[in-house]
Assembly symmetry: C2
């Protein structure tokens, strides 16, 4: 039983890293010019989605009770406001470094979690609510955030030449 | 420990049903005309992605060892060939019924699986490979297919009016 639990956590992490890798491949192969384009007419630009994913992942650090955000300034630009709210965005090269840094920080912390740690509540749920809904644990957030990458990766893929 | 395993399977299913629901909401609110459009210039049409998701989910029935596909004829049109390979596609109303039917068939079978069943190998992996890679189980396929819905839902969302 313990072995199966470990297997499941491993599966969830494999799925997470696979989505990160797919997004990574896109960010590494798309030019800065391509990332500056809208993924579809009138929609978010690639650079915005790069910043958005970075900010969401950065926010997972406190949500999982690992540490404070590495780049709290990203939240206002890439989560609280839609694309084109600000005249200038941070340079793509800088965002790419931050994207790598937050994912590395998460990976390091994930590796140090025990099986039991994964079933503890995440930081934005109260003890009372957690008692009622024990699925609101770290593992559950990981599954949700994995789908979140996939959702936007399907869009970023449109920046590739046909 | 048993309780946590059940909790984890429940989480994976909640995540699956949440993605199905999000796609459902899109398919239910988009008009046939909208679904007939390309999700982005030169990309797949909504109707193709509806058929594609239906065919992929239909294929999960044999993959999970539940039963043969309900609509094996969809594979050639929506998996083996890209959009616009065929002059005519099945009507949207018919695809929507099939989409509901395959998801219902999966849901019924998912509910009948025991915890142990989730950790059994899926049908496209050999016994030998499974011994080496025990993560290639049903649960793992479910996680992968959940990301697959999210990936395409991010694209289908572009059919909504801005």
């Amino acid at each position: 039983m313990k072995e199966q639990l470990e297997l499941f956590i491993k599966s969830a992490l494999i799925s997470w890293y696979a989505q990160i890798k797919r997004a990574d491949n896109l960010f590494n192969t798309l030019s800065d010019e391509q990332l500056g384009n809208e993924v579809s007419s009138g929609r978010n630009r690639g650079i915005y989605l790069l910043g958005h994913l970075t900010a969401i992942h950065d926010n997972m650090l406190p949500l999982f009770n690992f540490r404070e955000q590495l780049y709290p300034e990203l939240k206002e630009i890439f989560i609280d406001n839609p694309d084109k709210s600000f005249k200038e965005l941070p340079p793509i090269s800088e965002l790419k470094l931050k994207w790598k840094a937050v994912n590395s920080a998460l990976a390091e912390n994930f590796e140090s979690l025990t099986t039991q740690d994964w079933f503890q509540k995440h930081n934005s749920v109260s003890e009372a609510d957690f008692a009622k809904e024990p699925t609101r644990n770290r593992l559950n957030v990981l599954l949700g955030r994995t789908n979140h990458i996939a959702y936007h990766t399907g869009q970023i893929a449109f920046l590739q030449t046909k």
